[in-house]
């Protein structure tokens, strides 16, 4: 991996703007242009594309992946990676699901989120305190969490039907907007404030850019690393809960390969795996791009499997132009 010792690759030169636009980068513009073009194509293909119902469909489809990608973006900005998110989502939902017989929504939802936080903390300790490369630590954790999810549930699906508040998370709406979409937008806003306008945000970029310099400037790099893994864990648990609530069943074998899809969204959003670069806004736009592409392909009746191929092509098309200027890529 690239993130470890010597950073041979210089991050793409960042053209920064002044004033309130100072957080924007050159790549953000190309992503927004792609997004606008896609919307235009969608509208041309189906007149109902921009109808409220279809916009809800698109947002609902990317809510879980987007929320997971917020957590992943924070982790990637610090120069680490979190491959365990799908495992965390499954394990957390199963732990919460085992408390369904208690009938208490607080307990079920609380246990789900707490499990995500706890597993994220373990990841953070392994990476930040023990110095195990995050790729290995979270890869191992992916296997462990998935296995524990199966062991705790006995491989059986759990049904959250008795908990009305749980189902509301996936199927309810607030002022006509689906709850997962509200959560996606709220968390996105919170994460943008966290990364761009807080002391923690500055520490985050500093720790990802140059660890040694950050340490010498008094930033608690270990603490920052551990925190982003905990945030990623909670995001994963929440996203898993939204999906389980929407389907109204907790599937211990679900979310297969989700970690890589989320990583793809994060990278499409402009985060560099070398650390120090990335933005929540970019990730949100990237999630929308993926959602719109899939929505258009669905409207055209393209098979789900061919959609994977198209998605891969879109990622490459967006990511490629920004890469050429770099010295050495790993």
């Amino acid at each position: 991996m690239t993130t470890l010792d010597d950073k041979v690759a210089e991050p793409a030169a960042a053209a920064r703007l002044a004033g309130p636009w100072r957080h924007l980068r050159a790549g953000d513009l190309s992503r927004v242009v792609v997004l606008i073009c896609l919307v235009a194509v969608g509208q041309a293909i189906a007149p109902s594309f921009l109808s409220l119902a279809n916009v809800h469909v698109i947002l609902l489809a990317v809510a879980a992946i987007g929320i997971m990608a917020f957590g992943m973006t924070l982790v990637v900005i610090t120069g680490e990676i979190d491959l365990s998110i799908a495992g965390i989502a499954i394990l957390s939902c199963v732990v919460g699901g085992l408390l369904i017989p208690t009938g208490s929504a607080t307990l079920v939802i609380g246990a789900t989120l707490a499990t995500g936080l706890a597993v994220g903390l373990v990841n953070g300790v392994l990476v930040a305190a023990f110095g195990i490369p995050s790729l290995i630590a979270t890869l191992g954790m992916l296997g462990i969490a998935r296995a524990l999810g199966n062991i705790f549930s006995g491989g059986q699906a759990l049904y959250p039907e008795p908990i009305a508040a749980y189902l509301w998370l996936g199927r309810g709406d607030l002022l006509g907007v689906p709850v997962p979409v509200v959560l996606l937008l709220l968390l996105g806003a919170a994460a943008i404030i966290l990364t761009n306008y807080s002391v923690f945000g500055r520490a985050l970029y500093a720790a990802g850019g140059n660890v040694r310099a950050a340490e010498l400037s008094g930033i608690n790099v270990v603490g920052v690393r551990a925190t982003v893994f905990m945030i990623s864990g909670v995001c994963a648990a929440l996203a898993g809960m939204l999906e389980s609530a929407r389907l109204s069943y907790i599937n211990p074998a679900g979310l297969e390969g989700m970690e890589l899809s989320v990583l793809a969204v994060t990278v499409l959003g402009g985060a560099a795996l070398t650390g120090g670069v990335g933005s929540i806004g970019g990730t949100l736009v990237a999630a929308l791009i993926i959602g719109i592409v899939n929505n258009i392909l669905n409207q055209l009746g393209v098979s789900l499997y061919l959609q994977q191929v198209v998605t891969a092509a879109v990622i490459l098309a967006v990511v490629l132009p920004g890469m050429r200027h770099r010295g050495i890529a790993k």
């Binding site: 470890l4 795996l273 098979s303 050495i328």
Partner: protein, 342 residues
């Protein structure tokens, strides 16, 4: 470290290779697994089980050998598992489509391919090399991070696998293919011999030639390698091509055993391949590791899983054990390296 005493005058007769071997914790891990296996199960050291073990090692070993070469350069290849299935599917689909054009009917009832198998194998190998080259060119010349480039290939190939097969498995009917999957020469299964042959070639190339040594140079310090006049980009492409070909061979060995190929097969094997390379001591940062050590990693991994299976430990607990062993082994090696540096 305590290793200083071991390498002292106590072992003057043994060559440095074996002295190094005796100090290697993974050797003791393998010895321990086999000893515990022999003591706790009467089946562990039977010919049948060892044969089974060797067949398992062949598939995951081939994948991790290719992965090792890529990791040596400081890159990563996530596409290997999707590629190992894709290359076979391409071989079968191309030949099945070509058949009618030549007036032959090679795809018979029940989605069974009964045509000539050698062209399928050759197409599979070239597909592996071609996809590896695409990965390598993307990484070396277009400067896409290898993690992203091969993630994109992984996604695309998984999609293609379903599109090309329409979601139905293809069955392969061929005496030669069955021979690769089932036959033995002496006590060793053919698939394991294929693995050993690839291992031998890679060991000679990587550890025995100047050109092979350049993979270490690139992984150790890429800028220095570049300034020393090594055409680093070509070697990066070559590493991915080697990985692609290894994946195709793994696909051949794997599907020859199953006598069928199906899109969802081998899901997640890319992570197993990384785990084996890392257990064998390959560093993700590049420049550290060797095909020989990856063999040890594959043997330790496969024999450990085999032991758990013989004990009747369920798959879930096996996966749990893999995760724990992966984290602990990397953590221990990290700690011992830290101590050595102090």
């Amino acid at each position: 470290m305590s290793t200083v005493e071991l390498s002292g005058p106590a072992a003057p007769h043994v060559g440095p290779f074996f002295a190094g071997l005796a100090r290697d914790p993974i050797i003791w891990l393998i010895v321990a697994i086999f000893a515990v296996g022999a003591l706790t199960s009467e089946y562990y050291l039977t010919a049948l089980n060892l044969e089974n073990l060797m067949r398992n090692i062949a598939v995951i070993g081939l994948l991790s050998l290719g992965m090792t070469v890529v990791l040596l350069t400081g890159r990563i290849d996530l596409s290997v598992a999707a590629l190992m299935i894709f290359s076979i599917i391409v071989g079968v689909v191309v030949m099945a489509k070509l058949g009618p054009a030549l007036g032959e009917r090679w795809l018979v009832r029940g989605n069974t391919y009964a045509g000539p198998i050698v062209p399928v194998v050759l197409i599979a190998l070239s597909t592996g090399a071609a996809v590896g080259a695409i990965n390598g060119i993307g990484v070396a010349y277009f400067k896409v991070a290898s993690f992203i480039m091969t993630l994109v290939t992984l996604t695309a190939l998984r999609g293609f696998n379903y599109v090309l097969t329409n979601g139905h498995p293809y069955y392969l009917k061929s005496p030669f293919y069955s021979w690769i999957g089932d036959a033995k020469i002496g006590a060793l299964p053919v698939s394991f011999l294929i693995f050993l042959a690839v291992l031998f070639v890679l060991m000679v190339f990587i550890n025995g030639t100047v050109r092979g040594g350049r993979f270490y140079a690139i992984g150790g310090n890429e800028k220095a390698a570049l300034y020393a006049g090594i055409k680093t980009q070509r070697y990066v492409v070559l590493a991915f091509v080697i990985s692609g070909v290894c994946a195709a061979i793994a696909g051949i060995v794997f599907t020859a055993r199953l006598k069928s190929v199906d899109a969802p097969l081998a899901a997640g094997y890319e992570l197993t391949a990384i785990a084996i390379a890392v257990i064998g001591g390959t560093a993700l940062s590049g420049g550290v590791g060797s095909p020989w050590r990856t063999l040890l990693g594959a043997v330790a991994f496969a024999s450990g899983l085999n032991l758990l299976a013989i004990w009747g430990v369920g798959t879930w607990y096996q996966n749990l054990a893999i995760g724990v062993v992966l984290i602990v082994s990397v953590g221990l090696s990290k700690m011992s390296r830290r101590k050595a540096n102090r």
